[in-house]
């Protein structure tokens, strides 16, 4: 563990556990009971703001209750030391702030998550007109300031990246909206929080371009039957239309 040790930082203790507070114990929930705090098809309210980071070509910040993500887009710039490529390349980097999760994510060691970056890349890459940007690279840096479930991070990450790309003035085919769903008991809950996805049988994240009515990514894990999957996809797809109008409104307001 000492090999990836960075002396320039103030390193926390090697072992740490999150404190448990007495009043934190929420009432127990059992399978079959209705969802707490919101209806099963409701998503958490979205706060989205483009243009937060001045030195970036485009940027955006999203907050859906406890999920807080900032995104900066740099480029398109010339790709150096790379073989000729007639299509542009999209780099997605996802970093967790050390304090973003229940357990501390040590800088360098486990702050980067390639699987989330790949999920976001898959969702947005087909929306960007990379064919008009030969020999160039677009960098997207996503910082997760606070995380409330991986599914929520992927969905919010896709939305914020698409908004930042638009803010940067990069040509895209359409805005990408993304929504997550969890199969809990017999129900389908949209936009599950960390706790809810832990209680669920399986989760699904769907990213689509509502303007073109195409789906660019599906990311499902856990135990669902075929009916659940189809129902989740339908529910997410219709909710994505609402998310699309949120993004569009925010972008209009920012002009």
């Amino acid at each position: 563990m000492q090999s990836g040790f960075d002396r320039r930082r103030i390193n926390g203790p090697e072992e740490s556990n999150p404190p448990i507070f007495e009043d934190e114990e929420t009432p127990t929930w059992n399978v079959g009971m209705p969802r707490r705090n919101r209806a099963s098809v409701d998503i958490r309210p979205i706060f989205l703001q483009p243009g937060l980071i001045n030195q970036a070509t485009g940027s955006a910040y999203i907050e859906t209750q406890n999920t807080k993500i900032a995104c900066a887009v740099f480029g398109p710039r010339q790709a150096k030391n790379v073989a000729f490529n007639e299509k542009g390349r999209l780099n997605v980097d996802v970093k967790f702030a050390p304090f973003s999760c229940d357990r501390r994510r040590a800088p360098m060691r486990d702050a980067e998550d390639r699987s989330i970056a790949m999920a976001i890349h898959q969702a947005i890459s087909s929306s960007v007109r990379l064919d008009v940007l030969p020999k160039s690279v677009i960098d997207i840096f996503i910082t997760i300031v606070e995380s409330d479930g991986i599914e929520g991070c992927v969905a919010a990450g896709v939305i914020v990246a698409s908004t930042a790309l638009t803010d940067a003035g990069i040509e895209i085919f359409g805005l990408v909206a993304s929504c997550s769903a969890a199969a809990v008991g017999e129900d389908i809950w949209l936009d599950p929080s960390l706790r809810e996805s832990q209680e669920s049988r399986g989760t699904l994240v769907l990213s689509c371009m509502p303007a073109l009515s195409t789906v660019s990514s599906i990311w499902q894990t856990g135990n669902m039957n075929t009916g659940d999957v189809l129902a989740c996809m339908d529910a997410c797809n219709s909710r994505c239309t609402d998310i699309h109008s949120v993004i569009a409104q925010v972008l209009l307001d920012s002009i």
Partner: protein, 345 residues
């Protein structure tokens, strides 16, 4: 994730052939045919379960084909040191550089990481967790490491990985354990002796000894159990719980409007968009979707995806049935037949 690059002319040639009527593939298969799959279990004697799979190997000289080795090894983990009470499953995929000679080290690492993510996220999901990985409740549990090695890739690597994983996990045996505790011997103050062996741990699935304990053991004593022993060192143990439900993966390669299975490398490069569907078919239960991923550039409509999910279920069931039959055969070969052969000597 095209690992080979082909020219535009070749790409268009392959795509046109796939879209023509009747569809044509370079090796003469129809769109939904698989290459021949060879499977052997128990190839790593030091592992608790292992398998080797090859897809599309030349039957005459044994060349070519996608080849994957999988081996499961269990180790004891104490809960205080980062273990989980009910045990853990950790999957890792590593690729031999010989399988991808065209990739640089960094690219190979990324590829390994992507494969590991998909396999690990799917197989370590709580809905598939085996129940007999617990040794001492609250103290010790098994950590099941499933390592997959890609020896050669000639297309359809994800299907091969999941088939190998399923075969290795099917073959995995968890050692039987027995909890022990230490008691001061009566009359001899200060001397501690190994006295009681309390219950058979691991045998009753999820450790519901409280309800079903047939003997007059004081169940409170189980809480005092500090360590465990292997009752029979030479016994391989019992099979991993829930070995019927480990899923299989089916990769649908897409050249809309058609899709095809078991692509070779060149076809993968010509049709970069694919959907991985990971299905499990538990006996006496509805089929379960255990994972789904879209990989590669391109989009689909929701109707197309729904259609693919339904079709994928049929293909996956075929693969699952064939694999199940083969695994049963392997069990017979390695246990019954081996015993008969031994007796005849």
């Amino acid at each position: 994730m095209a690992t080979t690059s082909i020219s535009k002319a070749e790409q268009s040639y392959i795509q046109t052939a796939l879209l023509s009527d009747p569809p044509l593939r370079t090796d003469g298969r129809s769109l939904h045919d698989f290459r021949s799959v060879a499977l052997e279990t128990g190839i790593a004697p030091l592992a608790n379960g292992s398998a080797r799979i090859s897809i599309g190997q030349d039957p005459h000289d044994g060349s070519g084909g996608t080849e994957v080795l999988a081996a499961a090894k269990v180790e004891v983990e104490s809960v205080e040191e980062g273990g989980v009470d009910a045990g853990r499953v950790v999957c890792t995929v590593s690729c031999s550089p010989a399988a991808y000679p065209q990739l640089a080290t960094a690219a190979l690492e990324d590829l390994q990481y992507d494969m590991t993510t998909i396999v690990h996220q799917t197989l370590s999901h709580p809905s598939l967790h085996p129940k007999n990985l617990r040794i001492l409740p609250g103290k010790k549990s098994w950590l099941l490491n499933l390592d997959l090695i890609v020896l050669a890739d000639s297309g359809n690597i994800y299907d091969a990985l999941f088939m190998a994983a399923r075969a290795a996990l099917w073959d995995t045996k968890i050692p039987r354990t027995r909890a022990v505790e230490y008691k001061a011997r009566k009359g001899v103050p200060g001397s501690a002796g190994l006295s009681a062996a309390v219950g058979k741990v691991g045998g009753s699935g999820d450790m519901d000894i409280d309800e079903e304990a047939p003997s007059g053991f004081d169940t409170r004593q189980i809480q005092h159990a500090t360590d465990f022993e292997l009752p029979d060192y030479w016994d391989e143990g019992e099979v991993l719980d829930g070995r019927d439900i480990w899923p299989v993966c089916i990769t649908l390669n897409l050249v809309p409007p058609v899709h095809f299975l078991d692509a070779i490398l060149r076809e993968e490069a010509a049709a970069p968009l694919k959907i991985l569907l990971i299905y499990s078919f538990p006996p006496s239960e509805k089929p379960r979707v255990q994972g789904m991923r879209m990989l590669g550039p391109g989009e689909l409509t929701l109707e197309q995806i729904k259609d693919l999910v339904n079709r994928g279920e049929h293909y996956a069931r075929d693969v699952f049935t064939a694999l199940h039959t083969k695994l049963k055969d392997e069990d017979v070969r390695r246990n019954q037949k081996a015993r008969e052969k031994f007796e005849r000597r």
